[in-house]
Subunit: 271 residues, 2 copies
């Protein structure tokens, strides 16, 4: 999907919500455990109930790998279901990969071609030749970790590198990489006050913003400092939506939580 | 496996060789493509021919994920084969993962418990709370990327952070994390001259050293600056060994290359 198509979807749905499909079998409604594939059954119900309220879904691959081959099968079924039933939905493999050149190419093929995701999250630590193999794919996005929502972000990301914080150095340096127009960046909602500075370095790039809700980030704060004339934001909520209820009505409870966020986003878009 | 057991194996085999199982279906002997599981058939032949010459195997997960569920099955079969037939072998999942707390725990369970690897490689960018969930596993090692063998290492890793290179900051900071005795570090063989400085910060920790052979790193240089009184080195070679030949005799050709390295290591151990 192109960036322009994503922006069109945001205006059409009046939403820049991304729903994180981080499925933990200990947290899903008990009755689903009797299904042949509980993870996919859960995802399908969530998608069916919420797809009109969001523009993107983001499975974190850790939650699928944790269940071995069954988990991997559930991930494949989920992305296939999205691509077949809802091709207008933007898909993010939250994989946080990063490796040297030829290995990065293997990962890029796995996520972009075989699984058919629109984008994948990547760690920047190994530099240019670990990221460019992903950027080479047309109409696919590489979402680089810049400033993450966790406390450990202060261990290295905010440290000064040659006088500038490391995450700013990552933003600045990555602009010079080949096909850098295919870059998006992860910036945690818990770091909203940093967004003004970030927008000075990357005024237009899309940001994937986790941390609204369960982790304490604030939607209005993120928009105040981060929104652009082409929106430029995908705000993710995972647990706050998908685990809104553990009853048989879990999907409609999730839809209700998603709609609350969508309404707030609509207000921001019409501001 | 404990560090002490690993050191015992190194002395017993007179080898600190790790063989990278980075299986690319375009590079393995053509006759194997007729097998039901060509990836596992290749790995099994390589393991059968080389296990007495090395102390560790390191599958890079990218190469398995690139083949979807079939790849994941081949990875499971490979680690099961190693754990059942050669429990004295140390195993490394070269996954370069890194995510926030609860997600890191999912990854740690996947690699340490479900798959049964002895260790996993981890990226440090997200800091302490992304790594400590891995360190919590007893008799398992977390191998942190410090200074990688690729050119992109110079983009961020060697930049000065508050006056000290980022990779040194990673080494220094990580020593304060809980269960830091379970840490090892990745240092590329192409950066051998940095090892003297690295040993000042982490005098005893084991280093996983890729980049000997195909990437141009030199075994003697690595040993000169990196070896400790308990060896402290695992030197990895992937392509140089496993793709030594594409004939039906590929496994014995691989064994020959592995033996060349083992002999060099024996010389270093008896120096």
């Amino acid at each position: 999907m192109t960036t322009q198509q994503l922006v069109e979807q945001i205006h059409k749905k009046q939403s820049f919500l991304c729903i994180g499909l981080d499925v933990d079998l200990n947290k899903i409604p008990k009755h689903l455990l009797e299904e042949e594939d509980p993870i996919f059954a859960f995802n399908k119900a969530i998608i069916d109930a919420t797809h009109h309220l969001c523009v993107a879904y983001k499975p974190n691959t850790a939650f699928y790998e944790a269940y071995g081959i069954k988990g991997w099968e559930a991930l494949e079924k989920t992305i296939n279901y999205l691509n077949e039933e809802h091709p207008e939905i933007y898909t993010i493999a939250d994989a946080k990969r990063g490796d040297i050149g030829n290995t990065s190419t293997m990962y890029a093929k796995a996520f972009f071609e075989d699984l058919g995701f629109d984008s994948v999250t990547i760690a920047p630590y190994m530099g240019k030749d670990s990221v460019e193999p992903f950027l080479a794919f047309k109409d696919k996005h590489t979402i680089l970790l810049a400033l993450t929502s966790n406390r450990g972000a202060f261990d290295f990301q905010t440290k000064h590198v040659d006088g500038v914080e490391l995450y700013k150095q990552v933003l600045e340096t990555s602009k010079s990489w080949e096909n850098s127009e295919n870059l998006m960046y992860v910036v945690g909602a818990t770091k909203a006050e940093y967004l003004a500075d970030i927008r000075k370095i990357i005024p237009k790039a899309f940001l994937l913003v986790p941390g609204v809700g369960a982790q304490g980030g604030n939607l209005q704060e993120v928009c105040k400092y981060g929104i652009t004339d082409t929106v430029g934001l995908l705000i993710n909520s995972s647990r706050g939506i998908i685990y809104a209820s553990q009853d048989v009505n879990f999907a409609s409870a999730a839809a209700q939580k998603a709609e609350e966020l969508q309404k707030q986003m609509q207000a921001e878009l019409t501001r």
